[in-house]
Symmetry: C2
DNA sequence: CCGATATGTAAGCCTATACTTACCGTAAGC
DNA sequence: GCTTACGGTAAGTATAGGCTTACATATCGG
């Protein structure tokens, strides 16, 4: 919980989210990704570097191209992160409701 | 999926994440939150406005104070979002592994 | 009412960073 | 080997947005 959880920092940018979501459909090369985005190819490269650094994507060489794909491990970390938060939110929500109940009675 | 999913944009900022995580421990007033953060109280107010706009927190008046808490609905949306991504990542990962397998055989 | 407490809002500054252009390295095909 | 595609890197710019100070608003206690 004390983790900086940089993946969320990375997904804060809408272009990176677009890349992330496109990769959810399957592995893509850099050029393929850039072709469907309103930014230049170098920009996509830079975004991919960030996504890779925080463990959200992996890459491998295929000939002269470089194919990126989601890293299940990184996604799993985010999944469990929000799992915990959801549980805590429910608890907090419940006790808040009880609190309001008590106050309205008094 | 085509949703902009602004909550992730909101959680991109480390200070907002800190607020978000602190609220996971239970409802807090603005001043309480600011007291444990390295930024001014107005800054916290502004962050809370953003978090509220994207549906991650709710607030209610308590006397002269304003108490914020996590919005279970907003957290749930993020939870299911990454659930879907995790599943897709696994599928993509699996087929990529099979692809690599096939290539190594040929 | 009046002061104190708690918070939202406005205006302005300043830094982080997303983007572009230009360049370089590398693998593949003829 | 030369050329052509593909992609990472560098340098420089420009804008978004996070922060502060100053001000406005509102509730409560006496």
């Amino acid at each position: 919980m004390a983790y900086q959880l940089q993946p969320l920092g990375a997904l804060g940018d809408p272009t990176r989210r677009a890349i992330f979501e496109r990769l959810a459909a399957g592995p893509r090369s850099v050029g393929e990704l850039a072709r469907h985005l309103p930014v230049s190819r170098p920009a996509v490269s830079q975004h991919l570097r960030v996504l890779k650094r925080v463990g959200l994507v992996k890459d491998r060489r295929v000939g002269t191209r470089r194919v990126y794909q989601l890293d299940p491990g990184g996604v799993e970390r985010l999944r469990s992160y929000f799992d915990r938060f959801w549980n805590r939110a429910l608890v907090a929500f419940k006790s808040a409701a009880e609190q309001a109940e008590k106050e309205s009675q008094s």
